[in-house]
Symmetry: C3
Subunit: 327 residues, 3 copies
């Protein structure tokens, strides 16, 4: 599909600065722009690219001041970044989408599959699983028996939903398995990344509430609960029975101890180790054990000087002792 | 299946406090109890739930003192937590289990499959692989050629057993691959979590000894050895040729350097970085590099005060120098 | 296949010390040597094994001094470790290799598959994917639509190439998905470990340059770029748009913030957290935030003493104040 600068400007409410009839049919980063591509300039750090870009159209913020003429056509808008996202969404929606259950998927006869669902090759949908309308299950996903997946959920390739929680009771010779009799419930509009694992609960439910976005290779243990619209970057790990509130943001590789509660709108930095309940909504934490980010970064700066501090302290002790002796 | 309070009390050696004919057919957490469910109360923190729970039966410790009457039927036992685990095991054993090789699995003609084995859809069992009796291989598992899996092993969805160890030798233009000619041996009663990877050895064997329990998304590199009944939480990583003893416990996201030896019954905290041999059995370690947990938590508490300490040290130096000058 | 000591010595340019007609047909570690196996001795720590090994042939460095006679046949070479790697490569090349597209794989009709390619059972090759000559795709791998894989690439089981990058824009009710319209490009001679994820870019390409070796369970986010011959151990995570130079080495479980640039030949220790651009080629970093390794290990040694330092500092303050008062 091709669009003119004028069509695009009308759609997003911008003004054309250049040839209104310039056409584009794809997107590109500004430094990789080529003929027929639309790109955008949002970060001032990249402004210099606008004079050389081969892209046919560049979306820019309306207040952009040019220092010399450009050959590309500009569309001036209030917020270039938001507008390009909007255009990409429109473009993505216009593209044909795979739907239906692929003939190479395995879907249990007792599973209930909604409308307009896509299930890719080699995905496994276990007994009694429920999948809501509009949900997309990519190839090689495994959903164990009894789990419930909402509407408009996306589950990327290799993810495993509903494997046994990790529960064992020691005996004298080894460990007895504690059966994991619960399920996983994933509510509407959730996205689950590739190779992410969400374990079934021991009893009751492991719950991912609506709008949650989980990146790749994340571990959600049995009996966990993740609140609405919380976002987690790749490789985060949650131990069992931990509850995370709504609208939280969790950086990559962070870990949570079991049986703790994280309040709404908590911001957890990458690689943090969170080992206790948070104090209230909106807290920011980083480090392991996790503390206030300002303190963490200041203390980390001093950490480098610890060897010097250690020597200085010994010197202070010696000099002080000498001074006292002189008395 | 339904059981009466009397049947359950007889089975686990408890006494009924309430209606002996109350029946249940499922399990629930005490805060989510509903009619027809049995639950348990073990942690005193949750005692208040017993007065409101909708569960039909609650297993409680025999010494539980009630502050007011309850509507639910109680079964008093020595250890409520152990008893519920026992009941869940009985329940799980009574449920029908999938067995046999699914018609959608790929099993090499040269693989040897034991009795009462389950192999799920889209699992791949390579050439010459041996699988012992009673073992369960969930969907989308891949077992590379030549590996040996013992009896009553459980391997969850997406796990990869026997991929090449990560070995490369630099040359002037890049890296030559060092062929990984060994195998993986997994002994009896091991459980391997979803999407966990156990690499084949360069030569000889990567060995997971009997009774080991590995959670999800764990990396076991080539030539590693994990001793009997050692338990590892999710996302742990072991570099090559490291040996971990028997009955160890390893917290989530911990990492081990290569070519080190960890003694039996070592306890490694979550997110630890273990970079050298341990000193002997029963050691506890946490942090990166890993140290004694008491020291780690005390030092972490002081870490927050490092900026203050740095300032105070400068002040001490200044004041001391002034004092010395006055002499 | 069987080879005599003489044949092997001629092939690798060594001299036989013992029976030239001794034959071997497999490899073993020196401590697990058995009849018919060739092994090697490179690390002096293991020299004592040479007097007891059951291996038929041992490759040793030419300057090895024996303290007593051995029963095994020795082949003396300049560098025993390099020679055994060479022999293993020869052996591996002589072994029959699977080729062709397995009948249980799914390959889109619009994918372009090169010569001598192996694609295992239940691998998924999406629409328009290009795969170069000699590339090996193991079972249960998923390659999303439009990605490009070079020649002689190896992708291990369960890896996911081209899943959506993790991009969402907040609105008042939740998050809008930012469509991920780009692709993944993997150049020649790359190896990708089991269950590793490489996400497609928002626009343009996520690029893994030629010769890169990625271990298992690694996360490469959208718009990342990894330079030629860089090597990463298991469970490393890269956030979006980060560029890593050529010939870098990255230890296991290390993490990189988004939008940063790492110069060539950088050495990043295990579990590091790299949060800013590096200063130039050849830098070494470890810790979180990552710093110079010498400083890190010295400071870590002092970290253990922080509680003592804290007490000592309070003592110094008290004594100094007393001294000042006496004046």
């Amino acid at each position: 599909m091709e669009f003119t600068a004028k069509q695009i400007a009308d759609f997003i409410g911008g003004t054309v600065d250049g040839n209104e009839q310039t056409t584009v049919n794809t997107f590109a980063k500004i430094e990789e722009g080529k003929e027929g591509a639309i790109t955008f300039l949002s970060n001032p750090k990249y402004t210099h690219y606008i004079y050389d870009t081969k892209a046919s159209i560049v979306l820019v913020n309306e207040d952009l001041q040019l220092e010399k003429p450009v050959t590309t056509t500009l569309i001036r808008v209030k917020n270039a970044y938001e507008c390009v996202a909007k255009l990409m969404q429109m473009y993505a929606q216009s593209m044909p989408k795979k739907t239906g259950v692929d003939s190479l998927a395995f879907v249990s006869p007792s599973a209930q599959i909604g409308k307009d669902v896509y299930i890719g090759p080699f995905a496994v949908i276990g007994d009694g699983v429920k999948i809501g309308d509009g949900t997309r299950i990519y190839p090689n996903v495994t959903i164990y028996d009894g789990c419930q997946i909402g509407k408009n959920v996306t589950i990327h390739a290799g993810a495993v939903i509903g494997a046994d929680g990790f529960g064992f009771a020691p005996n004298t010779e080894g460990y007895d398995k504690i059966p994991q009799l619960g399920i996983v419930v994933i509510e509407d509009n959730v996205e689950i990344g590739a190779n992410t694992c969400v374990d079934r609960s021991t009893m009751g439910q492991t719950i991912i509430h609506k709008g949650v976005k989980l990146d790749n290779l994340i571990q959600v243990a049995h009996n966990c609960e993740i609140g609405e619209n919380t976002v987690m970057s790749a490789q985060v790990g949650m131990a069992g029975s931990t509850k995370i509130g709504a609208w939280c943001m969790v950086g990559g590789q962070a870990g949570f101890s079991g049986h703790i509660t994280i309040a709404d709108k908590t911001f957890i930095g990458a690689q943090s180790g969170v080992i206790s309940n948070t104090k209230g909504n909106g807290e920011q934490l980083i480090g392991a054990p996790a503390i206030d980010p300002k303190v963490f970064f200041k203390a980390s700066a001093v950490f480098k000087k610890l060897p010097d501090m250690y020597r200085e302290m010994a010197a202070l002790r010696k000099e002080l002792d000498e001074l006292k002796e002189k008395k």
